[in-house]
Protein backbone atom coordinates (compact mmCIF):
# COMPACT_ATOMS: atom_id res chain seq x y z
CA UNK A 1 0.00 0.00 0.00
CA UNK A 2 1.06 3.53 -0.56
CA UNK A 3 1.59 5.65 2.51
CA UNK A 4 3.25 8.98 2.62
CA UNK A 5 5.90 10.00 5.12
CA UNK A 6 3.47 11.81 7.40
CA UNK A 7 1.24 8.78 7.65
CA UNK A 8 4.22 6.56 8.30
CA UNK A 9 5.49 8.80 11.07
CA UNK A 10 2.01 8.97 12.52
CA UNK A 11 1.67 5.21 12.57
CA UNK A 12 5.13 4.81 14.03
CA UNK A 13 4.39 7.33 16.74
CA UNK A 14 1.15 5.58 17.59
CA UNK A 15 2.92 2.23 17.77
CA UNK A 16 5.60 3.60 20.07
CA UNK A 17 3.01 5.24 22.29
CA UNK A 18 1.04 2.01 22.48
CA UNK A 19 4.12 0.01 23.40
CA UNK A 20 5.07 2.57 26.04
CA UNK A 21 1.64 2.88 27.56
CA UNK A 22 0.57 -0.77 27.43
CA UNK A 23 2.69 -1.97 30.38
CA UNK A 24 1.31 0.96 32.35
CA UNK A 25 -2.23 -0.17 31.71
CA UNK A 26 -1.32 -3.64 32.85
CA UNK A 27 0.20 -2.18 36.02
CA UNK A 28 -2.96 -0.25 36.74
CA UNK A 29 -5.02 -3.36 36.18
CA UNK A 30 -2.94 -5.32 38.68
CA UNK A 31 -2.86 -2.61 41.29
CA UNK A 32 -6.61 -2.20 41.39
CA UNK A 33 -8.51 -4.13 44.02
CA UNK A 34 -9.99 -7.39 42.93
CA UNK A 35 -13.75 -6.94 42.93
CA UNK A 36 -15.51 -8.78 45.78
CA UNK A 37 -17.24 -11.32 43.54
CA UNK A 38 -14.00 -12.44 41.99
CA UNK A 39 -12.20 -15.40 43.45
CA UNK A 40 -8.47 -15.21 44.07
CA UNK A 41 -6.33 -16.76 41.42
CA UNK A 42 -2.83 -18.06 41.04
CA UNK A 43 -2.03 -15.19 38.71
CA UNK A 44 -0.61 -13.48 41.77
CA UNK A 45 1.63 -14.70 44.50
CA UNK A 46 1.92 -12.35 47.44
CA UNK A 47 5.12 -12.19 49.42
CA UNK A 48 7.45 -10.06 51.49
CA UNK A 49 11.06 -9.05 51.11
CA UNK A 50 12.77 -8.20 54.37
CA UNK A 51 16.09 -6.42 54.47
CA UNK A 52 17.72 -7.21 57.78
CA UNK A 53 20.31 -4.49 57.33
CA UNK A 54 17.54 -1.89 57.41
CA UNK A 55 15.84 -3.42 60.44
CA UNK A 56 16.51 -1.27 63.50
CA UNK A 57 17.56 -2.84 66.77
CA UNK A 58 15.03 -2.11 69.48
CA UNK A 59 12.26 -1.09 67.09
CA UNK A 60 9.09 -3.17 67.30
CA UNK A 61 6.74 -1.08 65.17
CA UNK A 62 5.91 -3.99 62.93
CA UNK A 63 4.91 -6.09 65.93
CA UNK A 64 2.70 -3.39 67.44
CA UNK A 65 1.15 -2.59 64.09
CA UNK A 66 0.28 -6.23 63.52
CA UNK A 67 -1.24 -6.57 66.98
CA UNK A 68 -3.20 -3.38 66.45
CA UNK A 69 -4.43 -4.31 62.99
CA UNK A 70 -5.57 -7.77 63.96
CA UNK A 71 -6.89 -7.19 67.46
CA UNK A 72 -4.23 -9.24 69.23
CA UNK A 73 -4.18 -8.45 72.92
CA UNK A 74 -1.54 -9.28 75.45
CA UNK A 75 -2.56 -11.19 78.55
CA UNK A 76 0.87 -10.73 80.13
CA UNK A 77 1.55 -14.40 79.62
CA UNK A 78 4.35 -14.40 77.06
CA UNK A 79 4.48 -18.18 76.85
CA UNK A 80 0.89 -18.51 75.71
CA UNK A 81 0.11 -15.10 74.20
CA UNK A 82 -0.29 -15.15 70.45
CA UNK A 83 2.41 -13.57 68.34
CA UNK A 84 1.94 -13.37 64.61
CA UNK A 85 5.23 -11.56 64.06
CA UNK A 86 8.25 -11.20 66.28
CA UNK A 87 11.58 -9.43 66.20
CA UNK A 88 14.49 -11.82 66.40
CA UNK A 89 17.95 -10.67 67.50
CA UNK A 90 20.77 -12.67 65.99
CA UNK A 91 24.32 -12.74 67.23
CA UNK A 92 26.90 -14.57 65.18
CA UNK A 93 28.62 -17.13 67.37
CA UNK A 94 31.94 -16.71 65.62
CA UNK A 95 32.13 -13.03 64.77
CA UNK A 96 29.82 -11.46 67.35
CA UNK A 97 27.96 -9.50 64.67
CA UNK A 98 24.47 -8.56 65.86
CA UNK A 99 21.46 -7.97 63.65
CA UNK A 100 17.68 -8.06 63.97
CA UNK A 101 14.86 -9.07 61.69
CA UNK A 102 11.12 -9.63 61.88
CA UNK A 103 9.91 -13.21 61.60
CA UNK A 104 6.38 -14.28 60.67
CA UNK A 105 4.63 -17.02 58.74
CA UNK A 106 6.73 -17.59 55.67
CA UNK A 107 3.77 -18.46 53.44
CA UNK A 108 5.60 -21.37 51.91
CA UNK A 109 4.69 -22.78 48.56
CA UNK A 110 4.92 -26.26 50.08
CA UNK A 111 3.69 -25.58 53.61
CA UNK A 112 4.28 -28.42 56.09
CA UNK A 113 1.41 -27.05 58.17
CA UNK A 114 -0.99 -27.63 55.29
CA UNK A 115 0.30 -31.16 54.77
CA UNK A 116 -0.27 -32.23 58.35
CA UNK A 117 -3.61 -30.64 59.15
CA UNK A 118 -6.08 -33.54 59.60
CA UNK A 119 -9.15 -31.55 58.62
CA UNK A 120 -7.68 -29.33 55.94
CA UNK A 121 -8.25 -26.22 58.04
CA UNK A 122 -4.70 -25.12 57.38
CA UNK A 123 -4.69 -24.35 53.68
CA UNK A 124 -2.99 -22.33 51.02
CA UNK A 125 -5.05 -19.89 48.99
CA UNK A 126 -4.66 -19.74 45.24
CA UNK A 127 -2.63 -16.56 45.56
CA UNK A 128 -0.15 -18.16 47.93
CA UNK A 129 -1.39 -16.88 51.27
CA UNK A 130 -1.41 -19.64 53.90
CA UNK A 131 -4.37 -19.37 56.24
CA UNK A 132 -6.23 -21.25 58.95
CA UNK A 133 -9.91 -21.87 58.32
CA UNK A 134 -10.96 -21.56 61.94
CA UNK A 135 -14.40 -22.93 61.18
CA UNK A 136 -12.95 -26.39 60.74
CA UNK A 137 -9.90 -26.12 62.98
CA UNK A 138 -10.24 -28.63 65.82
CA UNK A 139 -7.32 -27.24 67.79
CA UNK A 140 -5.09 -30.30 67.61
CA UNK A 141 -1.98 -28.08 67.15
CA UNK A 142 -0.30 -30.52 64.81
CA UNK A 143 0.39 -27.65 62.39
CA UNK A 144 2.25 -25.88 65.19
CA UNK A 145 4.42 -28.96 65.63
CA UNK A 146 5.05 -29.09 61.91
CA UNK A 147 5.87 -25.45 61.23
CA UNK A 148 9.63 -25.08 60.74
CA UNK A 149 9.47 -21.40 61.68
CA UNK A 150 7.39 -21.67 64.85
CA UNK A 151 5.07 -19.19 63.16
CA UNK A 152 1.77 -20.41 64.54
CA UNK A 153 0.09 -19.55 67.81
CA UNK A 154 -2.68 -21.30 69.65
CA UNK A 155 -5.31 -19.20 71.37
CA UNK A 156 -5.14 -20.33 74.96
CA UNK A 157 -7.94 -18.25 76.45
CA UNK A 158 -11.36 -16.74 75.82
CA UNK A 159 -10.92 -13.93 73.33
CA UNK A 160 -12.80 -10.68 73.07
CA UNK A 161 -12.55 -7.44 71.20
CA UNK A 162 -11.88 -9.03 67.84
CA UNK A 163 -11.59 -6.87 64.77
CA UNK A 164 -14.36 -7.69 62.32
CA UNK A 165 -11.81 -8.39 59.59
CA UNK A 166 -9.74 -10.71 61.78
CA UNK A 167 -11.89 -13.28 63.60
CA UNK A 168 -9.98 -15.22 66.21
CA UNK A 169 -11.16 -17.41 69.09
CA UNK A 170 -10.20 -19.82 71.87
CA UNK A 171 -9.14 -23.26 70.90
CA UNK A 172 -8.05 -22.57 67.33
CA UNK A 173 -4.67 -21.94 65.78
CA UNK A 174 -3.69 -18.79 63.93
CA UNK A 175 -0.75 -17.11 62.28
CA UNK A 176 0.18 -14.16 60.10
CA UNK A 177 -2.43 -13.80 57.36
CA UNK A 178 -0.28 -11.49 55.26
CA UNK A 179 -3.07 -9.01 56.05
CA UNK A 180 -5.31 -10.91 53.66
CA UNK A 181 -8.17 -8.50 54.34
CA UNK A 182 -6.00 -5.61 53.19
CA UNK A 183 -4.77 -7.58 50.19
CA UNK A 184 -8.30 -8.33 49.07
CA UNK A 185 -9.24 -4.71 49.57
CA UNK A 186 -6.41 -3.65 47.30
CA UNK A 187 -4.46 -1.73 49.93
CA UNK A 188 -1.27 -2.98 48.33
CA UNK A 189 0.62 -3.59 51.56
CA UNK A 190 0.58 -5.21 54.97
CA UNK A 191 0.30 -3.52 58.36
CA UNK A 192 3.89 -4.42 59.27
CA UNK A 193 5.28 -3.09 55.99
CA UNK A 194 3.30 0.12 56.37
CA UNK A 195 4.52 0.62 59.93
CA UNK A 196 8.12 -0.02 58.99
CA UNK A 197 7.84 2.49 56.17
CA UNK A 198 6.27 5.01 58.52
CA UNK A 199 9.23 4.63 60.88
CA UNK A 200 11.50 5.36 57.96
CA UNK A 201 13.30 2.02 57.92
CA UNK A 202 11.53 0.43 54.95
CA UNK A 203 12.86 -2.97 55.89
CA UNK A 204 9.69 -4.81 54.86
CA UNK A 205 8.42 -4.73 51.31
CA UNK A 206 5.15 -6.35 50.24
CA UNK A 207 4.41 -7.26 46.67
CA UNK A 208 3.39 -9.69 43.97
CA UNK A 209 6.14 -12.22 43.38
CA UNK A 210 4.61 -13.24 40.07
CA UNK A 211 4.57 -9.75 38.64
CA UNK A 212 8.01 -9.08 37.13
CA UNK A 213 7.43 -5.35 37.19
CA UNK A 214 6.61 -5.14 40.90
CA UNK A 215 9.26 -3.59 43.11
CA UNK A 216 9.68 -6.79 45.09
CA UNK A 217 10.32 -8.87 41.97
CA UNK A 218 12.76 -6.34 40.61
CA UNK A 219 14.70 -6.27 43.86
CA UNK A 220 14.72 -10.07 44.14
CA UNK A 221 15.97 -10.34 40.57
CA UNK A 222 18.76 -7.82 41.01
CA UNK A 223 19.96 -8.39 44.57
CA UNK A 224 20.89 -11.51 46.54
CA UNK A 225 18.26 -12.84 48.88
CA UNK A 226 17.67 -16.02 50.79
CA UNK A 227 14.97 -18.11 52.41
CA UNK A 228 15.04 -19.20 56.01
CA UNK A 229 15.77 -22.92 56.31
CA UNK A 230 16.27 -23.02 52.57
CA UNK A 231 17.46 -26.61 52.82
CA UNK A 232 13.87 -27.65 53.49
CA UNK A 233 13.00 -26.50 49.95
CA UNK A 234 9.67 -25.04 50.94
CA UNK A 235 9.93 -22.11 48.52
CA UNK A 236 8.81 -19.49 51.00
CA UNK A 237 6.94 -16.36 50.02
CA UNK A 238 8.95 -14.33 52.52
CA UNK A 239 12.53 -13.68 51.50
CA UNK A 240 15.36 -12.10 53.45
CA UNK A 241 18.31 -9.98 52.56
CA UNK A 242 21.31 -9.34 54.71
CA UNK A 243 21.49 -12.64 56.55
Amino acid sequence: MNINRRQFLGMGGAAVAAVTLAPGFKLIELAQARSPEEATSSLHRWGLLIDSSKCADGCTSCVSACADENGIQSHNRPATDAQWIRKVTLKDKQTGHVQTLPLMCQHCEEPPCVDVCPTGASFKRADGIVLVDKHICIGCRYCMMACPYKARSFIHEVTTGQKSHAPRGKGTVESCTLCVHKVDRGDGSTACADACKKEGHEAILFGDLKDPSSEISKRLASQPSTQLRADLKLNTGVRYQGI
Binding site: T80, I136, I138, K150, T172
Partner: protein, 402 residues
Protein backbone atom coordinates in the same frame (compact mmCIF):
# COMPACT_ATOMS: atom_id res chain seq x y z
CA UNK B 1 -4.38 -79.60 73.31
CA UNK B 2 -6.80 -79.52 76.21
CA UNK B 3 -9.90 -77.54 75.54
CA UNK B 4 -9.79 -74.14 77.14
CA UNK B 5 -12.69 -73.04 79.27
CA UNK B 6 -13.35 -69.33 79.45
CA UNK B 7 -15.42 -67.94 82.24
CA UNK B 8 -16.78 -64.55 83.16
CA UNK B 9 -15.57 -63.39 86.50
CA UNK B 10 -18.14 -63.36 89.23
CA UNK B 11 -17.71 -59.73 89.91
CA UNK B 12 -19.71 -59.49 93.08
CA UNK B 13 -17.00 -59.11 95.63
CA UNK B 14 -16.36 -55.93 97.55
CA UNK B 15 -12.91 -55.82 96.03
CA UNK B 16 -14.27 -55.83 92.52
CA UNK B 17 -16.78 -53.09 93.22
CA UNK B 18 -14.14 -51.06 94.99
CA UNK B 19 -11.86 -51.41 91.98
CA UNK B 20 -14.62 -50.28 89.62
CA UNK B 21 -15.43 -47.38 91.93
CA UNK B 22 -11.81 -46.31 92.08
CA UNK B 23 -11.47 -46.41 88.31
CA UNK B 24 -14.75 -44.54 88.02
CA UNK B 25 -13.42 -41.81 90.25
CA UNK B 26 -10.25 -41.55 88.15
CA UNK B 27 -12.36 -41.25 85.01
CA UNK B 28 -14.58 -38.61 86.57
CA UNK B 29 -11.59 -36.58 87.69
CA UNK B 30 -10.06 -36.87 84.23
CA UNK B 31 -13.21 -35.68 82.53
CA UNK B 32 -13.48 -32.86 85.04
CA UNK B 33 -9.94 -31.80 84.28
CA UNK B 34 -10.75 -31.81 80.56
CA UNK B 35 -13.82 -29.66 81.12
CA UNK B 36 -11.74 -27.24 83.16
CA UNK B 37 -9.14 -27.01 80.39
CA UNK B 38 -11.73 -26.58 77.68
CA UNK B 39 -13.74 -23.98 79.53
CA UNK B 40 -10.87 -21.74 80.54
CA UNK B 41 -8.67 -22.38 77.60
CA UNK B 42 -5.28 -24.04 77.61
CA UNK B 43 -3.56 -21.22 79.48
CA UNK B 44 -4.43 -23.07 82.67
CA UNK B 45 -2.15 -25.90 81.59
CA UNK B 46 1.60 -26.00 81.23
CA UNK B 47 1.35 -26.23 77.45
CA UNK B 48 2.30 -23.15 75.50
CA UNK B 49 3.19 -21.94 72.03
CA UNK B 50 6.63 -23.46 72.52
CA UNK B 51 5.81 -26.79 74.15
CA UNK B 52 2.68 -27.46 72.21
CA UNK B 53 1.95 -31.03 73.16
CA UNK B 54 2.35 -31.83 76.83
CA UNK B 55 1.58 -34.42 79.47
CA UNK B 56 -1.79 -35.47 78.02
CA UNK B 57 -0.05 -36.38 74.80
CA UNK B 58 2.64 -38.30 76.68
CA UNK B 59 -0.07 -40.43 78.25
CA UNK B 60 -2.15 -40.64 75.08
CA UNK B 61 0.68 -41.72 72.80
CA UNK B 62 1.88 -44.18 75.43
CA UNK B 63 -1.57 -45.74 75.70
CA UNK B 64 -2.05 -45.87 71.94
CA UNK B 65 1.37 -47.44 71.38
CA UNK B 66 0.75 -49.91 74.20
CA UNK B 67 -2.66 -50.74 72.74
CA UNK B 68 -1.23 -52.05 69.50
CA UNK B 69 1.40 -53.96 71.46
CA UNK B 70 -1.16 -55.53 73.71
CA UNK B 71 -2.55 -57.31 70.68
CA UNK B 72 0.81 -59.04 70.24
CA UNK B 73 -0.05 -62.03 72.40
CA UNK B 74 -3.13 -62.76 70.32
CA UNK B 75 -1.13 -62.31 67.13
CA UNK B 76 1.49 -64.79 68.27
CA UNK B 77 -1.27 -67.29 68.78
CA UNK B 78 -3.32 -66.66 65.64
CA UNK B 79 -0.74 -65.50 63.13
CA UNK B 80 2.33 -67.42 64.24
CA UNK B 81 0.44 -70.45 65.40
CA UNK B 82 1.86 -70.74 68.93
CA UNK B 83 -0.85 -72.73 70.64
CA UNK B 84 0.50 -71.91 74.06
CA UNK B 85 -0.67 -68.31 73.80
CA UNK B 86 -4.11 -69.15 72.52
CA UNK B 87 -5.90 -68.99 75.88
CA UNK B 88 -4.64 -65.43 76.29
CA UNK B 89 -5.82 -64.19 72.94
CA UNK B 90 -9.20 -62.92 74.11
CA UNK B 91 -7.78 -60.86 76.94
CA UNK B 92 -5.14 -59.55 74.56
CA UNK B 93 -7.74 -58.29 72.11
CA UNK B 94 -9.79 -56.73 74.88
CA UNK B 95 -6.82 -54.91 76.31
CA UNK B 96 -5.89 -53.62 72.88
CA UNK B 97 -9.30 -52.02 72.41
CA UNK B 98 -9.45 -50.69 75.97
CA UNK B 99 -6.00 -49.10 75.92
CA UNK B 100 -6.70 -47.51 72.55
CA UNK B 101 -9.99 -46.12 73.81
CA UNK B 102 -8.24 -44.64 76.81
CA UNK B 103 -5.50 -43.05 74.71
CA UNK B 104 -7.91 -41.64 72.16
CA UNK B 105 -10.13 -40.22 74.88
CA UNK B 106 -7.22 -38.26 76.30
CA UNK B 107 -6.24 -37.03 72.85
CA UNK B 108 -9.75 -35.89 71.97
CA UNK B 109 -10.40 -34.24 75.32
CA UNK B 110 -7.24 -32.19 74.98
CA UNK B 111 -8.25 -30.71 71.62
CA UNK B 112 -8.79 -26.98 71.55
CA UNK B 113 -12.21 -27.64 70.13
CA UNK B 114 -13.25 -31.13 71.28
CA UNK B 115 -16.84 -30.51 70.20
CA UNK B 116 -15.57 -30.40 66.64
CA UNK B 117 -14.63 -34.08 66.68
CA UNK B 118 -17.37 -34.62 64.12
CA UNK B 119 -15.54 -32.19 61.87
CA UNK B 120 -12.44 -34.36 62.17
CA UNK B 121 -14.50 -37.31 61.04
CA UNK B 122 -16.05 -35.57 58.06
CA UNK B 123 -13.38 -33.23 56.66
CA UNK B 124 -10.34 -35.24 55.63
CA UNK B 125 -6.98 -34.08 54.39
CA UNK B 126 -5.55 -37.34 53.12
CA UNK B 127 -2.05 -35.99 52.97
CA UNK B 128 -2.03 -35.75 56.74
CA UNK B 129 -0.76 -38.74 58.70
CA UNK B 130 -3.00 -37.53 61.50
CA UNK B 131 -6.05 -37.98 59.30
CA UNK B 132 -4.86 -41.44 58.35
CA UNK B 133 -4.37 -42.25 62.02
CA UNK B 134 -7.99 -41.38 62.75
CA UNK B 135 -9.04 -43.96 60.18
CA UNK B 136 -6.46 -46.45 61.45
CA UNK B 137 -7.51 -46.09 65.09
CA UNK B 138 -11.21 -46.50 64.45
CA UNK B 139 -10.59 -49.29 62.00
CA UNK B 140 -8.40 -51.03 64.54
CA UNK B 141 -11.23 -51.08 67.04
CA UNK B 142 -13.54 -52.55 64.44
CA UNK B 143 -11.09 -55.18 63.24
CA UNK B 144 -10.17 -56.30 66.74
CA UNK B 145 -13.86 -56.46 67.62
CA UNK B 146 -14.41 -58.75 64.65
CA UNK B 147 -11.33 -60.76 65.64
CA UNK B 148 -12.72 -61.21 69.13
CA UNK B 149 -16.04 -62.22 67.70
CA UNK B 150 -14.35 -64.92 65.62
CA UNK B 151 -12.73 -66.20 68.79
CA UNK B 152 -15.86 -66.08 70.90
CA UNK B 153 -18.29 -67.71 68.57
CA UNK B 154 -17.50 -71.40 68.19
CA UNK B 155 -18.69 -71.73 64.61
CA UNK B 156 -16.41 -68.89 63.47
CA UNK B 157 -13.26 -70.21 65.14
CA UNK B 158 -11.89 -71.29 61.79
CA UNK B 159 -11.73 -67.66 60.72
CA UNK B 160 -9.69 -66.62 63.74
CA UNK B 161 -6.46 -66.96 61.82
CA UNK B 162 -7.61 -64.72 58.98
CA UNK B 163 -9.02 -62.13 61.33
CA UNK B 164 -5.87 -62.33 63.42
CA UNK B 165 -3.70 -61.73 60.37
CA UNK B 166 -5.80 -58.76 59.36
CA UNK B 167 -5.58 -57.33 62.87
CA UNK B 168 -1.83 -57.92 62.96
CA UNK B 169 -1.19 -56.13 59.68
CA UNK B 170 -3.55 -53.33 60.62
CA UNK B 171 -1.86 -52.72 63.92
CA UNK B 172 1.58 -52.64 62.29
CA UNK B 173 0.24 -49.96 59.97
CA UNK B 174 -1.30 -48.14 62.91
CA UNK B 175 1.89 -48.06 64.96
CA UNK B 176 3.87 -47.01 61.90
CA UNK B 177 1.39 -44.18 61.56
CA UNK B 178 1.77 -43.22 65.20
CA UNK B 179 5.53 -43.12 64.96
CA UNK B 180 5.28 -41.19 61.71
CA UNK B 181 3.32 -38.45 63.43
CA UNK B 182 6.72 -37.41 64.70
CA UNK B 183 8.89 -39.00 62.06
CA UNK B 184 7.34 -37.00 59.23
CA UNK B 185 8.00 -33.60 60.81
CA UNK B 186 10.91 -31.70 59.29
CA UNK B 187 10.57 -28.85 61.73
CA UNK B 188 12.34 -30.20 64.79
CA UNK B 189 15.72 -31.85 65.05
CA UNK B 190 14.58 -34.62 67.37
CA UNK B 191 11.96 -35.80 64.90
CA UNK B 192 12.28 -36.02 61.12
CA UNK B 193 13.59 -39.55 61.14
CA UNK B 194 12.49 -42.70 59.39
CA UNK B 195 13.67 -44.61 62.46
CA UNK B 196 10.79 -43.39 64.58
CA UNK B 197 8.16 -45.59 62.92
CA UNK B 198 9.91 -48.95 63.49
CA UNK B 199 11.08 -47.75 66.90
CA UNK B 200 7.50 -47.13 67.90
CA UNK B 201 6.58 -50.60 66.75
CA UNK B 202 9.21 -52.20 68.94
CA UNK B 203 8.26 -49.91 71.83
CA UNK B 204 4.67 -51.06 71.43
CA UNK B 205 5.79 -54.65 71.82
CA UNK B 206 7.45 -53.81 75.13
CA UNK B 207 4.82 -51.51 76.61
CA UNK B 208 1.90 -53.64 75.50
CA UNK B 209 3.29 -56.85 76.89
CA UNK B 210 4.26 -55.20 80.17
CA UNK B 211 0.70 -53.96 80.68
CA UNK B 212 -0.70 -57.30 79.54
CA UNK B 213 1.46 -59.14 82.05
CA UNK B 214 0.35 -56.93 84.91
CA UNK B 215 -3.31 -57.23 83.98
CA UNK B 216 -2.96 -60.99 83.68
CA UNK B 217 -1.28 -61.27 87.06
CA UNK B 218 -3.92 -59.15 88.71
CA UNK B 219 -6.87 -60.78 87.00
CA UNK B 220 -5.82 -64.35 87.75
CA UNK B 221 -4.74 -63.60 91.29
CA UNK B 222 -7.82 -61.61 92.27
CA UNK B 223 -10.22 -64.14 90.80
CA UNK B 224 -8.37 -67.07 92.24
CA UNK B 225 -7.63 -68.63 88.88
CA UNK B 226 -4.40 -70.58 88.54
CA UNK B 227 -1.56 -69.22 86.44
CA UNK B 228 1.21 -71.68 85.84
CA UNK B 229 4.93 -71.03 85.56
CA UNK B 230 5.12 -72.26 81.98
CA UNK B 231 3.00 -69.37 80.78
CA UNK B 232 4.65 -66.82 83.00
CA UNK B 233 8.16 -67.85 82.00
CA UNK B 234 7.30 -67.59 78.33
CA UNK B 235 5.76 -64.15 78.74
CA UNK B 236 8.49 -62.70 80.88
CA UNK B 237 11.22 -63.94 78.55
CA UNK B 238 9.35 -62.37 75.65
CA UNK B 239 9.13 -59.10 77.56
CA UNK B 240 12.88 -59.20 78.04
CA UNK B 241 13.44 -59.68 74.31
CA UNK B 242 11.22 -56.70 73.54
CA UNK B 243 12.91 -54.47 76.12
CA UNK B 244 16.31 -55.37 74.71
CA UNK B 245 15.12 -54.64 71.16
CA UNK B 246 13.74 -51.30 72.25
CA UNK B 247 17.11 -50.45 73.77
CA UNK B 248 18.75 -51.36 70.49
CA UNK B 249 16.60 -48.87 68.59
CA UNK B 250 17.40 -46.13 71.09
CA UNK B 251 21.10 -46.86 70.69
CA UNK B 252 20.83 -46.82 66.89
CA UNK B 253 18.96 -43.49 66.98
CA UNK B 254 21.44 -41.73 69.22
CA UNK B 255 24.51 -43.27 67.67
CA UNK B 256 23.46 -41.97 64.27
CA UNK B 257 22.76 -38.52 65.66
CA UNK B 258 26.10 -38.48 67.46
CA UNK B 259 27.88 -39.09 64.18
CA UNK B 260 26.38 -35.99 62.58
CA UNK B 261 27.98 -32.73 63.67
CA UNK B 262 24.77 -30.89 62.97
CA UNK B 263 22.95 -32.97 65.55
CA UNK B 264 25.53 -32.59 68.30
CA UNK B 265 23.66 -29.79 70.03
CA UNK B 266 20.57 -31.94 70.24
CA UNK B 267 22.48 -34.94 71.54
CA UNK B 268 24.30 -32.82 74.10
CA UNK B 269 20.92 -31.55 75.23
CA UNK B 270 19.35 -34.98 75.65
CA UNK B 271 22.37 -36.89 76.87
CA UNK B 272 24.25 -34.32 78.90
CA UNK B 273 22.93 -30.92 79.90
CA UNK B 274 19.20 -30.98 79.28
CA UNK B 275 18.38 -31.01 82.97
CA UNK B 276 15.17 -32.90 83.56
CA UNK B 277 15.26 -34.41 80.06
CA UNK B 278 18.74 -35.82 80.58
CA UNK B 279 17.74 -37.29 83.93
CA UNK B 280 14.58 -38.80 82.47
CA UNK B 281 16.59 -40.25 79.61
CA UNK B 282 19.33 -41.93 81.57
CA UNK B 283 17.52 -42.80 84.77
CA UNK B 284 13.98 -43.16 83.48
CA UNK B 285 14.30 -44.49 79.98
CA UNK B 286 17.58 -46.41 80.05
CA UNK B 287 18.02 -47.53 83.66
CA UNK B 288 14.48 -47.97 84.92
CA UNK B 289 12.92 -48.79 81.58
CA UNK B 290 15.71 -50.89 80.11
CA UNK B 291 18.59 -52.15 82.21
CA UNK B 292 16.80 -52.88 85.48
CA UNK B 293 13.93 -54.85 83.85
CA UNK B 294 16.47 -56.94 81.92
CA UNK B 295 18.28 -57.74 85.12
CA UNK B 296 15.06 -58.55 86.91
CA UNK B 297 13.78 -60.74 84.11
CA UNK B 298 16.85 -62.70 83.11
CA UNK B 299 18.74 -63.16 86.35
CA UNK B 300 17.81 -65.60 89.07
CA UNK B 301 15.34 -62.99 90.28
CA UNK B 302 13.33 -63.78 87.18
CA UNK B 303 11.89 -66.82 88.84
CA UNK B 304 9.89 -64.73 91.24
CA UNK B 305 6.52 -63.46 90.05
CA UNK B 306 6.85 -60.38 92.15
CA UNK B 307 10.07 -59.53 90.37
CA UNK B 308 8.40 -60.14 87.04
CA UNK B 309 5.59 -57.81 87.96
CA UNK B 310 8.09 -55.23 89.20
CA UNK B 311 9.95 -55.49 85.92
CA UNK B 312 6.73 -54.84 84.03
CA UNK B 313 5.99 -51.81 86.20
CA UNK B 314 9.50 -50.49 85.55
CA UNK B 315 9.05 -50.95 81.82
CA UNK B 316 5.87 -48.88 81.98
CA UNK B 317 7.51 -46.14 84.04
CA UNK B 318 10.47 -46.13 81.69
CA UNK B 319 8.10 -46.00 78.74
CA UNK B 320 6.38 -42.92 80.08
CA UNK B 321 9.78 -41.34 80.63
CA UNK B 322 10.72 -42.20 77.04
CA UNK B 323 7.56 -40.60 75.71
CA UNK B 324 8.24 -37.52 77.82
CA UNK B 325 11.78 -37.15 76.50
CA UNK B 326 10.67 -37.72 72.92
CA UNK B 327 7.55 -35.60 72.85
CA UNK B 328 8.34 -32.80 75.30
CA UNK B 329 12.12 -32.83 75.12
CA UNK B 330 11.90 -32.78 71.34
CA UNK B 331 9.81 -29.61 71.51
CA UNK B 332 11.76 -27.93 74.27
CA UNK B 333 14.97 -28.01 72.27
CA UNK B 334 15.18 -24.79 70.23
CA UNK B 335 14.41 -24.96 66.53
CA UNK B 336 17.46 -24.60 64.28
CA UNK B 337 16.25 -21.52 62.44
CA UNK B 338 19.53 -19.65 62.21
CA UNK B 339 22.49 -22.02 62.18
CA UNK B 340 25.62 -20.49 63.57
CA UNK B 341 23.79 -17.71 65.34
CA UNK B 342 22.47 -17.15 68.80
CA UNK B 343 18.86 -16.16 68.46
CA UNK B 344 16.66 -14.41 70.99
CA UNK B 345 13.18 -12.99 70.72
CA UNK B 346 9.94 -12.39 72.56
CA UNK B 347 8.72 -15.73 71.23
CA UNK B 348 11.41 -17.80 72.96
CA UNK B 349 13.54 -18.38 69.88
CA UNK B 350 16.94 -19.85 70.55
CA UNK B 351 16.28 -20.91 74.13
CA UNK B 352 15.23 -24.18 75.66
CA UNK B 353 11.50 -23.84 76.26
CA UNK B 354 10.39 -24.33 79.81
CA UNK B 355 7.59 -26.68 80.62
CA UNK B 356 6.13 -27.96 83.85
CA UNK B 357 3.36 -30.55 83.81
CA UNK B 358 0.28 -28.99 85.31
CA UNK B 359 -2.30 -30.75 87.45
CA UNK B 360 -5.15 -30.72 84.88
CA UNK B 361 -2.88 -32.35 82.33
CA UNK B 362 -1.74 -35.09 84.70
CA UNK B 363 -5.30 -35.75 85.86
CA UNK B 364 -6.47 -36.01 82.27
CA UNK B 365 -3.73 -38.51 81.50
CA UNK B 366 -4.58 -40.59 84.53
CA UNK B 367 -8.22 -40.41 83.51
CA UNK B 368 -7.23 -42.08 80.27
CA UNK B 369 -5.61 -44.92 82.20
CA UNK B 370 -8.82 -45.12 84.23
CA UNK B 371 -10.87 -45.46 81.06
CA UNK B 372 -8.62 -48.19 79.70
CA UNK B 373 -8.57 -50.23 82.89
CA UNK B 374 -12.21 -49.54 83.65
CA UNK B 375 -13.28 -50.87 80.27
CA UNK B 376 -11.16 -53.97 80.82
CA UNK B 377 -12.52 -54.66 84.31
CA UNK B 378 -16.07 -54.11 83.13
CA UNK B 379 -15.66 -56.31 80.07
CA UNK B 380 -14.23 -59.33 81.86
CA UNK B 381 -17.30 -59.30 84.04
CA UNK B 382 -19.84 -59.31 81.24
CA UNK B 383 -18.10 -61.59 78.76
CA UNK B 384 -15.86 -64.63 79.19
CA UNK B 385 -12.48 -63.15 78.34
CA UNK B 386 -10.45 -64.89 81.01
CA UNK B 387 -9.58 -68.55 80.77
CA UNK B 388 -10.64 -70.52 83.78
CA UNK B 389 -7.23 -71.92 84.30
CA UNK B 390 -3.77 -71.22 83.03
CA UNK B 391 -2.14 -73.85 85.22
CA UNK B 392 0.74 -75.71 83.65
CA UNK B 393 -1.21 -78.89 83.25
CA UNK B 394 -4.00 -77.13 81.45
CA UNK B 395 -1.81 -75.07 79.22
CA UNK B 396 1.01 -77.28 78.10
CA UNK B 397 0.06 -80.57 76.40
CA UNK B 398 3.52 -81.99 77.10
CA UNK B 399 3.57 -80.99 80.72
CA UNK B 400 4.95 -83.47 83.10
CA UNK B 401 4.86 -82.73 86.79
CA UNK B 402 8.36 -82.84 88.18
Amino acid sequence: MAHVHYLKIEGRSIGFLALLALLGVLIAIGVGAALYMEHNGHWVTGMSNQVIWGTPHVFAVFLIVAASGALNVASIASVFGRQLYKPLARLSGLLAIALLAGGLAVLVLDLGRPERLIVAMTYYNFKSIFAWNIILYIGFMGIVAVYLWMMFERRFNDYTKTAGMAAFLWRLTLTTGTGSIFGFLVSREAYSSALLAPMFIILSFAYGLAIFLLVLFAATRWTGRPLGDVMVTRLKNLLGVFVASALYFVVAYHLTNLYMTGKHDLERFILLDGGVYTRLFWIGQILVGGVLPLVLLYSKLGRSRYMNALAAVLVIVGGLAQMYVTIIGGQAFPMPLFPGKEASSSFFDGVVASYTPSLPEILLGIGGIGIALGLTVFAIKILPFLPQSLADADVDPHYKAT
